[in-house]
């Protein structure tokens, strides 16, 4: 198989007080290598669920469909195996880890992934050097490396920290789940730069967003509209502009 990421007929449920509730109802999506795709859609349409299912969160049960990533069955892999294979999820709500030093966490993650990829591990000095350089490039305060993971971080700091992790882990496929929400224009630019810096023929990204602004910086290759657990419409970057102008109502009516 030559495809980079291929999702077909993906269905998933979540436990809703004892009975399964279907969130993804047959998602079909192809993302070729080297492309940035955007997913837009109203709240509750399944965008975050899609990102969790792709990164292996166990709360969701996959009830149908397939996902292949560079020819491998992604759904059969543990979350950490997916990370090693190059899948990265930038969380919509990054999790706090009290008492866990950010630099240590990052180094542990980077070395776990490097081990799995048969690359030499970075010692503390090498790692700190790389982390400081990345932080600088993302106009982040290197002090963030000394703090506990996401504890007491502002919303913007948390998102920047996600982008820093992405930069250091060097994924092949990144999912950004509303990483732009609640960011001011400068922070937004940092996030966009983070993704742009990774752009290469062998890197792809799926950007979940509500806002045109991020896409102005990123310029996606494709834009998809998601609602009620399915991809309703796909198009070029102009689709995002159309959505911005008309809202989702028209698409939803069209699809109904």
């Amino acid at each position: 198989m030559s495809q980079f990421l291929s999702i077909s007929g993906l269905r998933a449920t979540i436990d809703d007080q004892g009975s399964p509730k279907e969130i993804l109802r047959g998602v079909d999506l192809e993302i070729p290598a080297g492309e940035v795709h955007a997913i837009m859609g109203p709240n509750g349409s399944g965008k975050s669920t899609l990102s969790y299912v792709l990164s292996g969160r166990e709360d969701y049960e996959v009830t149908g469909g397939e996902v292949s990533f560079e020819g491998r069955d992604l759904l059969a892999m543990e979350p950490e195996e997916r990370a090693a294979a190059g899948v990265f999820l930038a969380f919509q709500a990054p999790v706090e880890l009290p008492g866990v030093n950010n630099a240590n966490f990052l180094r542990t993650a980077v070395n776990a992934v490097r081990r799995a990829r048969n690359e030499p591990e970075l010692d503390a000095v090498q790692f700190l050097k790389a982390a400081r350089a990345e932080a600088k490039r993302l106009s982040m305060d290197a002090e963030m490396l000394k703090r506990n993971v996401n504890v007491g971080f502002s919303g913007g700091e948390k998102k920047r920290n996600e982008v820093l992790q992405m930069a250091l882990l060097q994924p092949r496929f990144a999912i950004l789940d509303e990483t732009d929400s609640g960011l001011d224009i400068d922070a937004l630019r940092v996030v966009a730069e983070g993704v742009k810096a990774l752009r290469s023929p062998s890197f792809s990204a799926l950007v979940i967003t509500h806002h045109q602004r991020l896409l102005d910086y990123l310029v996606p290759d494709r834009v998809h509209v998601m609602a009620r657990g399915r991809i309703l419409k796909s198009g070029g970057p102009e689709l995002a502009h159309q959505l911005e102008a008309q809202g989702y109502a028209g698409f939803l009516a069209e699809a109904a």
Partner: protein, 511 residues
């Protein structure tokens, strides 16, 4: 949720992983017959060549022990202990007594080697090296702080192998500073006036059931004396091991810091695997005079029993420090990961004006372990201060209790206490309990207590795993983060060991 069911099954399989330090050493032992009576106590005293006063003291302790019952207030359960079914004396057979490490039974040295104890002289002379290949998740030490430590502190090791100390190093450097660091049996012979002056003054012979038992039958332990104004030139360290089958081990440790003296003492323990429960009842007494400071750190990872709760050490310990002088300071730090039962309350009697007591604790229980541990801070003098930070981690079907007493007596004007107790639960079949007792009899005193209970969340685990960390490493990272406030109180060598231990003792406990 399926995730939980799966992790529970993982716990069950991995919880059976074999105890890493389970082995026995084939050394010829000299055993006293089983059972406890005056004759056994006379035998112990005679074997150790003790003076009459000490034998009398032991016999009095035995007499009071016979009138006592084992305490029933701890949240621990075990079948009744048959105290007559225990050997109270065991000693490796000696030829003439080793004069250097070359003369020590090589089997014994190999045992220590397997434990990773840096007993070899060259290793010690070179300073204890940090372990290589430390697990990434365990490396939760700020790299920069680490890099800024130019000289690794030197460590003197007084190794206790069962009941007799077999090797003591660094004697000379210590002697030059006027520090006495030796087995307590030797101190009884060489410095009887000091031992007689202080022994039993902090933990009286009849203090409690297990302290009385210890006073009657203690065989060895460490003695430390830091004279006036001396800062002990190195960390002092003792490794205790339990090796003889069915041998209760009853250490007695006495540390005295005179005016303005200071010392940091490290205690670490491991034991080989066996099926029978082994009784362990130690007593530690600390005395700090004016402006003296004693830091006592423990990493305890005795055999905790198997996944079904068979075997394991019963650990009933009485540890107490007396801040007798003004501005004296005693600090207890403990990381308790082992033993089937832990019953232990390192305490501070804050008598001197402005004296300070600290208790930093991490207690980890997994499988069927039970821990009832905490501290007592007794504020007697004016402006005395105490800090308690207790972190409790329960996994498997274990039960862990923090039990702490803060008592402020009427004369302790301006006394202050701050207590923080945090519990972390892993899985849904374990228990964590916090039992604080606060008795304040002085209106000007300030006593604060904070407590939290939390679970490792699926969110945290998934976040770590999505960054490439295996589940075990993620738990290790989160747990080490939870314990950071305590771990940072440990000397560097122990902090690293403790971090590894936390992860090892929670192997397979993800939930």
């Amino acid at each position: 949720m399926p995730a939980v069911a799966e992790t529970i099954s993982t716990v069950e399989t991995l919880g059976q992983s074999t105890y890493k330090w389970g082995f026995e050493t084939a050394i010829e032992m000299e055993l006293a017959p089983k059972g406890l009576n005056e004759d056994i106590i006379r035998l112990i005293s005679e074997r150790k060549g003790e003076p009459e006063w000490l034998l009398d003291w032991r016999l009095k302790a035995f007499a009071s022990w016979q009138t006592m019952k084992s305490p029933g207030w701890g949240k621990i359960g075990h079948p009744p202990i048959d105290f007559q079914d225990v050997h109270y004396y065991a000693a490796p057979k000696k030829k003439d007594g080793p004069k250097s490490l070359d003369e020590v039974d090589p089997e014994l040295l190999r045992t220590y080697e397997k434990l990773g104890i840096p007993l070899k002289e060259q290793a010690i002379l070179a300073g204890v090296e940090p372990p290589e290949g430390m697990g990434a998740a365990a490396a939760d030490i700020d790299d920069e702080e680490n890099a800024q430590r130019p000289d690794r502190p030197r460590v003197a090791v007084d190794a206790v192998f069962d009941s007799v100390s077999v090797a003591t190093t660094f004697r000379k450097t210590l002697a030059e500073a006027g520090v006495i660091f030796c087995p307590i049996s030797e101190a009884v012979r060489e410095h009887p006036e000091l031992v007689r002056q202080y022994l039993g003054t902090v933990v009286p012979a009849g203090d409690n059931f297990y302290a009385a038992l210890n006073s009657a039958v203690f065989t060895d332990g460490s003695f430390v004396f830091i004279p006036k104004g001396v800062k002990c030139p190195m960390e002092l360290s003792t490794y205790f091991r339990i090796n003889a089958r069915n041998t209760g081990q009853f250490e007695r440790t006495l540390i005295i810091a005179e005016e303005g003296a200071s010392v940091s003492y490290l205690e670490g323990c491991t034991a080989p695997m066996r099926d029978e429960n082994q009784l362990h009842a130690a007593v530690v007494e600390l005395v700090a005079l004016d402006d003296a400071s004693i830091k006592y750190s423990t990493v305890q990872n005795w055999y905790p029993g198997d996944a079904e709760g068979r075997g394991g050490i019963y650990n009933f310990v009485t540890k107490r420090g007396a801040c007798r002088g003004a501005r004296a300071k005693i600090s207890w730090t403990q990381v308790e990961t082992g033993s089937a039962i832990t019953w232990k309350y390192p305490s501070c009697i804050l008598q001197g004006e402005g004296s300070v007591g600290e208790f930093y604790s991490v207690a980890v229980t997994n499988n069927h372990q039970q821990a009832d541990t905490g501290t007592k801070m007794i504020h007697i003098g004016k402006n005395t201060r105490s800090t308690i930070v207790a972190k409790t981690i329960s996994a498997g079907r274990s039960d862990s209790t923090y039990r702490g007493l803060v008592r402020v007596l009427p004369k302790a004007s301006g006394a202050r206490n701050f207590t923080q107790c945090d519990s972390l639960l892993i899985g849904d079949q374990c228990g964590a309990h916090t039992v604080p007792y606060i008795e304040n009899r002085n209106m000007s005193a300030k006593v604060e207590h904070e407590a939290t209970t939390s679970k490792i969340s699926e969110d945290q685990l998934f976040y770590c795993r999505s960054r490439g960390l295996a589940e075990e490493d993620a738990v290790g990272l989160i747990v080490n983060g939870f314990c950071k406030d305590v771990l940072k109180e440990l000397p560097m060598e122990f902090a690293v060991e403790a971090q590894k231990l936390l992860q090892i003792s929670l192997e397979g406990s993800v939930g």
